[in-house]
């Protein structure tokens, strides 16, 4: 009955331990796992594999085409990274504004993703960033777009024996200007799950045409989601207030907000319109212009 | 005096707080101490059919299991003794503890709690006090959901002639206000430690806001003389009214006597939210008549206080609020009916400005509306109606030494109201 505990010193060792014990729980910062243990919501815990000593998973590396963030990188480190603030603004913003100082010191980006909360802040940011999840097991390495990563609340595409190694954030192509915006509201300023969180990234060419638009949204479905139908409104068009209005008017049809202790679905439907408008305006660069009425 | 006024005087215990030396109840560890956890059912309203603790008692490390049968005088309450320490017939709110287990550690106590079997018949709950007042509503208590005031359904207060007052008014406004339930959310969850000596005398360490009241109630429940129970009031990690009544103490005392060991029960934050007392969510219908110059003439109030599953301080709260229902304002004609209503929610109780705060929101909102209607400055409307020496409250009390005008004048000055 007693719970087993492993603390592998390398990634390979972790994969080996997990291969033998695929029913064990991976432990990173513990900020999602441990509250559930303390609240006695976990009934059948067999073992814990603590990833905290695996240095390879704690790296932030800039490559030519993408930036790599190891799954074990904490929110505090992301929040302190000038590189990410400059080149992956939404991912930076999500970590900077989530939780509390102590939570950001412990909680990791990988844990946020695998926890797959409908309102996970990094989840929403990574969706908008067009990020890829680097997933590894002893037998296979695969790169899965984050937009295909979530299956349901708390469920992801990870198979038994697999560990999330890190995420790849693609860089914008040359000649493309990328605009970002992250909007979030919660019940408190510090320490609270988002009531609605939205991340928008818009890629515009030198002519000001929208070449790509990605909208990630949280708490509007059982997982955080991309709002593809709204994205299409902008692609290959010049960004304008009227297109933004159109997206805001249509958003209701594409969401199914959650109803929980933080807010009602009714409230979320109201507030998402405001945040979506702000996010699209900021990411497109229109926010600084006089808003049309 | 010169050393005090205008100087920062640290609280006598503040250095102990900042260095972590203050000993709160949860910081007490006694040799052989046992830990309590309780069994609950997952519904807010039910008839208890059977309680089976045999499997729980067999868990290694369990020292004592108690049900209502172990409580000498199970029902207690400040005004109406309607609240069981551990329920025998009915569960009336979600999370109400039914069986208490004391074991060598919390894990063992939880394990035993999982083995307690409570058979029950689920009953329809009622959560809204107005609904609870309707004939035919699910009964929270046998005999009706409205608490009695000397045989009457309502606490009734009459001053002057309210209908005449309305007739003399230039304007009449009428609103229905609703407030929300409030949790005190002190940082220190409820906790107590009880130990019994060989002669059966009990010492209880607890963070109580009302030590003697605790002693009185605990002796009543245990059926023992008052000199056999000692309450050691420990530093309180926040109370705000929420630690005015015994919470964990009855169970700890009974388990300490039963097991002969010191017993600690510390609530989790979840238990705090589910089973500790809260500020009541009230419904206030208020009709107010006033003159063109803002003078208040008459007010009619129908007040419904949601007391939750048990009366506790409810009756007292209602009596207390009637005197202050109009805030610091003079109204010569008042008609007040106040109801204390049971619902299947946790018990309500004192919280910062006990039972008065709710009506302040209604009262002051109407003062703002009156200012809007009359076109007067909001402060003028208030100044015009302030109580003064010799005025009479709805409850007939004649006032003396009223300082509200000086206070408000000082606030006006300090805030620079007229310069804004």
């Amino acid at each position: 009955m007693s719970v087993q505990y492993y603390s592998p010193g390398s990634f390979t060792e972790a994969l080996q331990v997990l291969e033998r014990n695929s029913n064990y729980t991976l432990l990173a910062g513990g900020t999602d796992v441990v509250p559930r243990l303390n609240l006695r919501q976990v009934k059948d815990l067999q073992g814990l594999i603590y990833l905290g000593n695996i240095v390879e998973m704690k790296k932030i590396v800039e490559h030519n085409e993408h930036i790599f963030i190891g799954a074990l990188v904490t929110h505090a480190r992301i929040a302190a990274s000038e590189l990410l603030k400059q080149k992956a603004y939404n991912v930076w913003y999500a970590s900077y504004h989530m939780g509390t100082p102590a939570i950001r010191n412990a909680g990791t980006i990988g844990g946020n993703l695998v926890n797959a909360s409908p309102a996970g802040d990094s989840c929403v940011a990574l969706l908008a960033a067009g990020a890829l999840a680097s997933i590894k097991s002893l037998h296979e390495n695969r790169l899965v777009p984050v937009k295909e990563f979530f299956v349901d609340k708390g469920k992801t595409v990870l198979k038994p024996g697999e560990i999330l190694y890190g995420v790849h954030l693609p860089k914008a192509a040359t000649g493309i200007k990328k605009g970002c915006s992250y909007q979030r509201i919660g019940t408190l300023k510090g320490s609270s799950t988002a009531i609605i969180n939205i991340a928008v990234e818009i890629e515009q060419d030198t002519e000001g045409m929208c070449r790509a638009c990605r909208i990630g949204a949280g708490a509007v479905a059982s997982t955080s989601v991309r709002l593809y139908s709204l994205e299409e409104i902008f692609v290959d068009k010049k960004m304008s207030w009227s297109l933004i209005e159109q997206a805001v008017n249509e958003v209701d049809a594409y969401i199914n907000p959650i109803d929980d202790t933080y807010a009602t679905a009714w409230y979320r439907r109201k507030v998402i319109k405001v945040l979506l408008k702000r996010a699209l305006a900021e990411a497109s660069g229109l926010a600084s212009e006089q808003e049309e009425v | 005096m010169g050393k005090v006024i205008g100087h920062r005087i640290p609280l006598y215990d503040s250095y102990r707080h900042t260095t972590g030396q203050t000993r709160y109840v949860d910081d007490i560890y006694l040799p052989g101490m046992l830990y309590v956890k309780t069994a609950k059912i997952p519904v807010p309203h039910a008839r208890i059919l059977n309680i089976d603790t045999t499997a729980a008692e067999r868990v290694a490390g369990v020292a004592g299991v108690i049900t209502h049968k172990d409580v000498p005088n199970n029902y207690w309450g400040a005004f109406v003794q309607d609240q069981p320490v551990l329920p025998d017939k009915f569960v009336r709110f979600l999370g109400q503890p039914v069986v208490a287990v004391a074991a060598v550690d919390e894990d063992t106590a939880y394990e035993a709690v999982d083995k307690v079997k409570i058979d029950y018949e689920e009953l329809t709950p009622v959560f809204d006090p107005e609904e609870a007042m309707h004939p035919g509503a699910p009964e929270v208590h046998e005999g009706g959901n409205i608490a009695k005031f000397g045989g009457y359904d309502a606490m009734m207060v009459r001053l002057g002639d309210v209908e005449k007052g309305f007739a003399e008014s230039d304007y009449i406004i009428e609103h229905k206000f609703r407030t929300a339930m409030n949790e005190h959310a002190f940082l220190e969850p409820h906790c107590s430690v009880a130990e019994a000596d060989a002669s059966g005398h009990i010492t209880i360490y607890t963070a109580s806001q009302t030590t003697s009241w605790h002693q009185f109630l605990i002796c009543g429940v245990l059926g023992v003389p008052i000199n056999t129970v000692r309450i050691v009031s420990s530093p309180t990690g926040g109370g705000f009214g929420g630690k005015s009544n015994p919470a964990t103490e009855f169970v700890c005392a009974i388990l300490a006597r039963k097991t002969g060991k010191p017993v600690k029960w510390r609530w989790t934050r979840e238990e705090e939210f589910l089973i500790s007392t809260v500020r009541s969510a009230d419904i206030m219908w208020m009709k107010t008549g006033f003159k063109k110059d803002g003078t208040l003439v008459a007010r009619k109030i129908r007040y419904i206080q949601d007391t939750g599953a048990y009366n506790d301080f409810g009756t007292y709260g209602m009596m207390k609020l009637t005197s202050q229902i109009n805030g610091p304002y003079r109204i010569p004609n008042v008609w007040f009916d106040g109801y204390v209503v049971y619902t299947n929610k946790q018990v309500t109780g004192p919280m910062r400005g006990y039972s008065i705060t709710q009506s302040v929101s209604a009262n002051e909102t109407q003062m703002e509306i009156i200012a809007e209607i009359t076109g007067l400055d909001p402060i003028e409307v208030r100044m015009k109606n302030l109580l003064q020496d010799g005025d009479i409250l709805p409850t007939q009390q004649v006032l003396e030494a009223v300082g509200v005008r000086e206070t408000l004048e000082a606030v006006i000055k300090a805030s620079g109201w007229y310069n804004k």
Partner: protein, 150 residues
């Protein structure tokens, strides 16, 4: 299982269950009752300690993961009988009332000042945003910190 770590400068050894939280180990096994339990879900900060110099909620730290690390609590801030300036100023400025949040609050401020000796008011407020205080309204706490950094 056995776990060794450094507590306030001294090496300690404890026998723990893998699921035991650091808060319980400190309080129940090592007698460090300054570390409070307000929620056990990471929300209140009453249990905050420094782990290898970083602020963490000890209620979310599983005991075995502390192996080889160093833990600092308010007791560890007292050097040769001298209390830390944070402990002094919080007391003097009425930054503590009931005191239940205070040890965690002291550690959050310590973590801030270690990294940023001259924080702005906004930085102070951000640094204590994970430490709930139901008594003081935070203003006095902020003033206490400002009195140190001014």
């Amino acid at each position: 299982m056995e776990v060794r770590f450094v507590l306030n400068g001294t090496e300690v050894k404890v026998d723990v269950k893998p699921t035991a939280i650091l808060t319980d180990i400190l309080r129940d096994k090592l007698g460090v009752t300054s570390v409070k339990k307000g929620c056990e879900t990471g929300d209140c900060g009453a249990c905050a300690v420094l782990l290898d110099g970083e602020l963490v909620n000890s209620c979310l730290v599983l005991a075995p993961t502390v192996a080889g690390k160093s833990v600092t609590t308010v007791e560890g801030l007292i050097v040769n009988g001298e209390i830390d300036i944070i402990q002094k100023r919080l007391a003097e400025y009425h930054g503590t009332q009931c005191g239940y949040c205070t040890p965690g609050m002291v550690m959050a401020i310590k973590a801030l000042l270690n990294k940023n000796p001259k924080p702005s008011e906004a930085e102070i407020r951000r640094a204590i945003s994970g430490n709930l205080c139901r008594c003081t309204g935070y203003q006095k706490i902020v003033e206490a910190v400002q009195s140190i950094t001014a």
